[in-house]
């Protein structure tokens, strides 16, 4: 039985990767279990300069998930490379995916390039789909031309494979996927959160300080399946699937839709052991459905 998958030139022991923003810089979870079981880790979104993020409240509960509006809180790329990644290296032997956000092409290029010499990082995921940062973030991910230009500039300076994380808040996700593939993206990850909102019943005011945020969790799962399916059809580069998956069966379904690996997000917040449990469950579920090699099921629903 083979659980391993390949992303670019990196062999992952299994396709399970905690999604950016739900796993910090990884080491917090080493208090719960040996995180070396993970296929890889997508680090917390990183920007050129340190950011506190949005005022509180940043979280609102919803049926089948939650809304978050963290606003890319992070200590800045220099501290991420100088302090956070070394801390993670003490408890995690594998290589990881950095995640980069920004407000301008220059800022993205500068931040992504800083990871060129970081061996611990095997790929950089571009967050061009964050709904929670004013004047940037999602704007890069909802306009195909802007997304193309951004990826093109980053590819000139980056030596790492570039994964572009797409927003589901678009009319035609395939158009965006093709645009970033044309610009030289090495892979695509999706879906980021859907823009959502809650209003407090007593005060009649938005719960989230910046009013709207990104909705994620089990409720977005069928949307993720559909969008991964559409993007797999549209491009020839690897697709990393995510969106509300909570168990091994759903991981397999996302891979049937076209995912080469699967990121687990909100499930980590509900149960810190979620990734470990899914990895442990995979062999049994593979057995049940007659799967002997995870790489063979990628895109099976298209055949």
């Amino acid at each position: 039985m083979n659980l391993s998958v390949k992303l670019f030139n990196e062999i992952l022991d299994n396709p399970i990767i905690p999604a950016s923003g739900t796993f910090g810089f990884g080491y917090e979870f080493a208090e719960f279990y040996d995180i070396n079981v993970l296929g890889s880790i997508a680090l917390k979104g990183t920007t050129r300069d340190a950011r506190y993020g949005n005022p509180l409240p940043r979280i609102a509960e919803c049926p089948a998930g939650l809304i978050n509006a963290i606003g890319l809180q992070n200590p800045g790329v220099d501290k991420v490379i100088g302090e956070e990644i070394p801390k993670l290296s003490k408890v995690y032997n594998g290589r990881v995916i950095a995640n980069v956000g920004g407000h301008s092409v220059d800022e993205y290029v500068t931040t992504v390039s800083k990871f060129n010499d970081v061996d611990k990082v095997f790929a950089v995921e571009l967050n061009i789909s964050c709904p929670n940062v004013k004047g940037g973030g999602m704007a890069f991910g909802t306009d195909a031309k802007i997304a193309y230009d951004l990826v093109k500039e980053i590819k000139k300076k980056s030596t790492k494979p570039i994964i572009v994380k797409l927003s589901p808040n678009v009319t035609d996700i395939a158009e965006l996927a093709k645009a970033v593939e044309d610009a030289g993206a090495d892979g695509i990850s999706l879906i980021n959160t859907l823009v959502g909102m809650r209003i407090d019943i007593k005060s009649a005011k938005p719960i989230i300080s910046v009013k709207k945020g990104g909705y994620s969790g089990p409720g977005v799962y069928p949307i993720a399946v559909r969008m991964i399916y559409d993007v797999y059809d549209a491009v020839n580069i690897p697709v990393i699937g995510m969106g509300g998956a909570e168990n091994a069966e759903q991981v397999i379904e996302l891979m049937y839709a076209g995912a080469s690996a699967v990121m687990i997000g909100t499930a980590n917040l509900i149960d810190p052991y979620a990734c470990k449990r899914i990895i442990e469950d995979l062999p049994t579920v593979m057995n049940k459905y007659g799967i002997d090699d995870m790489t063979k099921i990628i895109g099976r629903a298209h055949r």
């Binding site: 739900t22 917090e28 963290i70 810190p272």
Partner: protein, 105 residues
């Protein structure tokens, strides 16, 4: 009024209520100013605006913060507050902070 009798076994208790239905009308800070009690250090919990007013009145105490949390164990940054020492998570680094440490945004 929860546990007023239990607290009374431990020492002097001053009750305040917003509507004046029991004890002093007002909040804990109003009461603190009125009863002229002597103290070296305080421990407080309650709404953020009250804790802010308390911290501005006297920084020599500790406050227990509440926040909407995504995970509750330090991963999601959903409950981060600004402090003089940078961002701190209410769930993992708190919930109790020194009054003088918290920057009330």
């Amino acid at each position: 009024m929860f546990y007023a009798d239990k607290f009374k076994k431990l020492g002097d208790v001053t009750v305040t209520t917003d509507d004046g239905s029991a004890g002093i009308k007002g909040n804990a800070l109003d009461a603190l100013k009125r009863i002229n009690v002597e103290y070296d250090f305080y421990y407080a919990c309650g709404p953020l605006v009250m804790l802010k007013a308390l911290a501005n009145h006297n920084r020599n105490g500790e406050i227990s913060l509440e926040a909407r949390m995504g995970c509750g164990f330090g991963a999601c940054m959903g409950c981060s507050i600004e402090t003089v020492n940078g961002a701190r998570r209410v769930c993992k680094d708190g919930p109790v902070f020194n009054s003088g440490e918290v920057l009330f945004l």
